[in-house]
C-alpha cells in the first residue's frame, strides 16, 4: 500500500535526497565540506520525521543533529585540519567490507515481507502498548503532549539515564581534553604551538556579530517557552536546553570564545552541568520519601497542593527543568572543550 498522504512524492524525494547527502558527506574530500553536508543531511532527516508526525523528534534533531553536532565537528576541524591525506592501496579491504555490509543489508531486507504495512494503525507496534498512552495520558498526568508525558513520566527512568548520558559525555570530554594551563589567572598560559588552537579573528564578520547579538535574546526567550510550554506544545527540557546551549555557542562563534569565557567560568559551568541531573535524581528520591516508588511523582501530592495527576504534571515540569539545565550547560562545556582544545582560553 502506498503511503496515502497527499504529498507522498515529496516524502520519496526527501528519502532519496537523504541517501544522496549521506553519500556526498562521506565521499567529499574536504572535511569542512563533509561537516556542512552532514548538517544538511540531518536537516533533511528532520523534515522526513516531521512529515511522519514526529514533531518532537524532528525538533530535537534540528537542534541537536543539524545544529550542535555540526558545530562540534566544525570546531574539531578548526582545531586540527580539514584536508584529508590519501594514500594508495586498501582497495581490497574496502571491497571486502563492502561485500560484508551488502550481505548484512540483504539479510535485513529478507525480513521486509514479514513487516506489517507501513502506516497501519493496527500494526502490533501501534496497537499493543501505545494506545494506553493516548487514552490515559490526560487522566493520569493532565498532559496533552503525549511525548512529554511518556518521556518524563511513563518512561521517566529512560530520560533520567539519558540526561546522565549527556552528563557523562560532558565530564568524559572534559577529562579527555582539559589541559590545566596556568595556575593563577594572571599567568599567561605557556604558548604551546602543538596544541594551541589557531587564534580567531572575528573582525570580518560584522553582520554576523550584529545579527547574533540581536537574535540571542529571542532565542533564549523562545527556549524558555519551549521548556515551560512542553506540556502543551512540541518541546520540553531537551529541546529547550539545546536551544539555550546553542544560543551561547552562537555567541561564542560570532564573537570569540573569550567573550563567552568571561561570562562562564569553568568551575560554575561544570557545577551547573551536575546540578541539572542532581535536580532530576532528587525529585525521584523525594518520591521515595513521600512513600512512592522511585520517580513516582504522583506520591508528591502529599506535599503539593493538588491531586495525584496534577502532582505528576508538576513533577514532569521539575524534571524537564533539570534536563534543560544539564543539556544547556553540557552543550556549552563540550563546545568550549572542543573549540579550545581543552585549554579554556581561546578558540573558535
Amino acid at each position: 500500500m502506498m503511503p496515502s498522504l497527499p504529498i507522498w512524492q515529496f516524502d520519496v524525494l526527501l528519502l532519496v535526497l537523504v541517501v544522496l547527502f549521506a553519500v556526498v558527506a562521506l565521499s567529499i574530500r574536504n572535511l569542512m565540506g563533509a561537516a556542512v553536508v552532514f548538517g544538511a543531511y540531518s536537516f533533511m532527516m528532520c523534515l522526513i520525521w516531521a512529515g511522519m508526525g514526529a514533531v518532537d523528534v524532528a525538533f530535537t534533531e534540528a537542534a541537536v543533529g543539524a545544529g550542535v553536532s555540526t558545530v562540534f565537528i566544525v570546531s574539531t576541524i578548526y582545531n586540527t585540519s580539514a584536508t584529508m591525506r590519501s594514500r594508495p592501496g586498501g582497495i581490497a579491504f574496502k571491497l571486502f567490507i563492502g561485500v560484508v555490509v551488502t550481505l548484512a543489508g540483504v539479510f535485513l531486507l529478507s525480513a521486509l515481507p514479514d513487516f506489517p504495512d507501513w502506516g497501519d494503525p493496527n500494526s502490533p507496534a501501534n496497537a499493543t502498548v501505545a494506545p494506553y498512552y493516548i487514552e490515559n495520558s490526560i487522566r493520569d498526568t493532565h498532559v496533552p503532549n503525549l511525548v512529554t508525558s511518556v518521556l518524563a513520566d511513563y518512561r521517566g527512568f529512560d530520560t533520567l539515564l539519558e540526561t546522565i548520558v549527556v552528563f557523562i559525555a560532558c565530564i568524559a570530554i572534559y577529562s579527555i581534553l582539559r589541559i590545566e594551563t596556568a595556575k593563577s589567572k594572571t599567568d599567561e598560559p605557556e604558548e604551546d604551538t602543538a596544541t594551541a588552537p589557531p587564534s580567531y579573528d572575528p573582525s570580518d564578520s560584522l553582520i554576523v556579530r550584529q545579527a547574533s547579538r540581536f537574535m540571542v535574546p529571542f532565542m533564549q526567550l523562545f527556549a524558555l517557552y519551549v521548556i515551560a510550554h512542553g506540556h502543551y506544545s512540541p518541546g520540553g527540557g531537551f529541546q529547550g536546553g539545546v536551544i539555550l546551549g546553542a544560543s551561547l555557542i552562537l555567541l561564542a562563534i560570532s564573537f570569540d570564545l573569550k567573550f563567552i569565557l568571561r561570562q562562564w567560568r569553568e568551575k560554575p559551568l561544570m557545577l551547573l552541568v551536575a546540578s541539572g541531573v542532581c535536580l532530576y535524581a532528587t525529585v525521584g528520591l523525594a518520591c521515595m520519601f513521600t512513600g512512592g516508588n522511585y520517580l513516582d511523582y504522583g506520591s508528591l501530592d502529599s506535599v503539593l497542593p493538588n491531586d495525584r495527576a496534577m502532582a505528576r504534571s508538576h513533577g514532569i515540569l521539575l524534571v524537564e527543568i533539570g534536563v534543560g539545565i544539564t543539556v544547556m550547560f553540557s552543550m556549552l562545556a563540550i563546545h568550549i572543550n572542543l573549540a579550545s582544545n581543552g585549554r579554556f582560553d581561546r578558540g573558535l
Binding site: F107, S123, V129, Y132, L161, A172, S175, L285
Partner: protein, 501 residues
C-alpha cells in the same frame, strides 16, 4: 524498605557519582569516600536481595509505579531481580567495591593531577553495568549499555598516549555493537509492540517462524557479541584494556564483558526461549564452532605476547568463548557451567588484574623480561598470582575447576567434542604461561638464600593494594568450596525450567 531494595542497588553508585561531580570542585578529597560509600550501599542491597530472592522468588519493581494499571502490558519501565541476576549484581558491586578500595594508591600515582572526575566516572560505569544486569526492559538495557560504554571510553582514555587510539577504536566498535542491538530491538518491537522483557517472553511464541523476529535475534546477538569481544569481534579489547590505566582496567576487565554475556543469556532464554535455540540447529552449531575458535585464538595469542597485561587480555577473550559456548550447548550442565563461570570468571579476572596491578605499581611495567626475581621481591603478590593462575587453569578446589567441570560435562552430553578439546587446550596454554613466568621470576636470578649470592630486597606492594588482592584470591577458593550451595540453591532455579525437570 525491602520493597525498595532493587532500585537502591542502582541508586547507590548513581547518586554517589552525581555528588562526586560536585565535590570534585568543592571538596576534592570527599569524592573517593562518597563513591566507596555508594558502592558499599549497592553491595549490601544486592547481597540482601540474593537471600530474599532465593527464598521468595523473583521481585519486580516498577519505576514511577507504572506497573499495575489494569492493562495487559506494562506501560512503564520495570526492573526485575531473579535468580539469574542476583548473583551477578552481587559480583559486580562486590568486585567494584573491592577494586575501588584497591585502586586509591594506583590512581594517586598513575593519574596524579588529572583525577578530578575519575571516581565519578568509575561509579557511573558501575551504575551502567548494574543497570544492564537488573533492567527488565530491552530499550532501557540499550541506554544502560551506552552509559557503561561512554564512561569506559573516558576511563580508558585516562591512560594517555596509545590509550586515545585504543579508546577511539573501542568507541567505534562499541557504538556499532550498540546500534546493532538497537536495530534488533526494533525488529522485535515491530512484531510485538512492547519492550518489557516479561511481556515479550509471554507473547513470543516458542516456535515463531517469523523472519523479522529471527533477524532481530541475530542482530541483538551480534550487538552483544561486539560488546563482549566474542570472536571475530575481539579486536578492540586487548589494546583498550592494556593501554588503560591499571586502575581502570582492574574494574573494566572483570566486569564489562561478563555483563554483556549476561545480556545475551537474558535475551536468549527469557525474551526468546530454549526451544527457539534448540530448533535453529544451524546457528547453534555455528556459534559452538565460533566459541571453540575464540578459545583457541585467545589461547594462541596469549602465548605469543610478552606483556603480562596483554596476556591477561587474551585470557579474557578465550574465557568469553567458554561462556558463550556453555550457553549455546543449551543443556543443563552447560548452562549451569556458563552461569557459574560468569561469577567465577569475574572473580578470577579481577584477582589476576589486581595482582598485575601490584606488579606494575612496583616494577613500572609488566613485560615478561622485567619479572626476573619478582618472586623474591614480591612474594605475597606472586603467591596470589600463582593461586589465580591455578584457578584459571582449573585446579581444584578453586572455582575455575568447577566451572570447567560443568562445561566439559555439558559438552560431552551434547557430543560437542571440539569444545571439550578447546577447553583442555586452553588449560594447557595457561599452565605453560604460568610455568614460563615462574621460570623467569624465580629461576633466572641467583637464588638469594644460597650463600654468596646477592640478596634481593623485599619490595612488596603497599598494604592498601595487597589486602584486596589477597582477599580476592582467597575468594576464589571460597567460591570453589561454595559451589554446591550456589548451584543447588540459586543457579538451578535460573536455568530454564524445561531443562530441570
Amino acid at each position: 524498605m525491602t520493597g525498595q531494595l532493587p532500585i537502591i542497588v542502582i541508586l547507590g553508585p548513581l547518586l554517589a557519582a552525581i555528588l562526586a561531580a560536585f565535590t570534585a570542585w568543592l571538596r576534592p578529597k570527599l569524592s573517593y569516600p562518597l563513591v566507596v560509600l555508594g558502592l558499599a550501599i549497592s553491595f549490601t542491597a544486592a547481597l540482601k536481595l540474593v537471600f530474599i530472592v532465593a527464598d521468595e522468588g523473583a521481585k519486580i519493581y516498577w519505576l514511577g509505579n507504572w506497573g499495575n494499571q489494569n492493562h495487559e502490558f506494562v506501560v512503564g519501565i520495570q526492573i526485575t531481580v531473579d535468580n539469574l541476576n542476583t548473583l551477578l549484581l552481587t559480583t559486580v558491586s562486590g568486585i567494584a567495591l573491592l577494586t575501588a578500595l584497591y585502586a586509591k594508591r594506583l590512581v594517586e600515582t598513575e593519574l596524579a593531577g588529572r583525577q578530578r572526575y575519575f571516581y565519578a566516572l568509575l561509579s557511573l560505569l558501575v551504575t551502567g553495568l548494574l543497570g544492564i544486569s537488573i533492567t527488565g526492559d530491552i530499550f532501557n538495557l540499550y541506554v544502560f549499555l551506552e552509559i557503561a560504554a561512554l564512561s569506559s571510553y573516558a576511563l580508558i582514555a585516562y591512560g594517555k598516549g596509545r590509550a586515545y587510539m585504543a579508546s577511539f577504536n573501542y568507541l567505534i566498535m562499541g557504538t556499532m555493537g550498540a546500534c546493532l542491538y538497537l536495530l534488533g530491538v526494533g525488529f522485535v518491537f515491530i512484531k510485538h509492540g512492547t519492550l518489557n522483557i516479561d511481556n515479550l517472553s509471554g507473547i513470543i511464541p516458542t516456535l515463531d517462524p517469523s523472519q523479522a523476529l529471527f533477524v532481530g535475534f541475530v542482530l541483538i546477538l551480534l550487538g552483544v557479541w561486539v560488546k563482549m569481544a566474542f570472536f571475530p569481534f575481539h579486536g578492540w579489547l586487548p589494546n583498550a584494556y592494556t593501554h588503560a590505566p591499571t586502575a581502570s582496567a582492574a574494574v573494566l576487565a572483570p566486569l564489562a564483558t561478563k555483563v554483556a554475556v549476561y545480556a545475551m543469556l537474558r535475551i536468549m532464554f527469557t525474551v526468546y526461549s530454549l526451544d527457539y535455540i534448540t530448533h535453529s540447529p544451524g546457528i547453534q552449531s555455528v556459534v559452538l564452532y565460533l566459541s571453540t575458535i575464540a578459545i583457541v585464538v585467545g589461547s594462541f595469542f596469549s602465548l605469543t605476547q610478552t606483556n603480562l597485561k596483554m596476556i591477561a587480555c587474551y585470557f579474557i577473550i578465550s574465557e568469553i568463548g567458554y561462556m558463550v559456548g556453555g550457553a549455546w550447548l543449551a543443556n543443563k550442565p552447560g548452562l549451569t557451567g556458563a552461569m557459574y563461570h560468569l561469577v567465577a570468571d569475574a572473580a578470577m579476572t579481577s584477582a589476576l588484574f589486581m595482582a598485575i596491578g601490584c606488579i606494575v605499581y612496583r616494577l613500572g611495567q609488566a613485560q615478561l623480561d622485567d619479572l626476573k626475581g619478582v618472586f623474591f621481591k614480591m612474594p605475597v603478590t606472586m603467591g596470589a598470582f600463582v593461586v589465580t593462575m591455578a584457578a584459571l587453569i582449573g585446579v581444584p578446589p578453586t572455582c575455575g575447576f568447577f566451572s570447567k567441570w560443568y562445561l566439559i560435562q555439558g559438552a560431552a552430553e551434547a557430543g560437542v567434542w571440539h569444545f571439550v578439546a578447546a577447553l583442555l587446550l586452553s588449560s594447557l596454554v595457561k599452565a605453560i604461561i604460568l610455568f614460563r613466568i615462574i621460570e623467569i621470576g624465580y629461576n633466572r636470578v641467583a637464588h638469594p638464600a644460597i650463600e654468596g649470592n646477592p640478596a634481593i630486597p623485599r619490595n612488596e606492594a603497599p598494604l592498601s593494594m595487597l589486602i584486596p588482592t589477597v582477599a580476592m584470591t582467597l575468594g576464589l577458593i571460597a567460591l570453589g568450596l561454595a559451589t554446591n550451595t550456589l548451584v543447588n540453591t540459586i543457579i538451578v532455579n535460573a536455568v530454564p525450567a524445561a531443562l530441570t525437570q
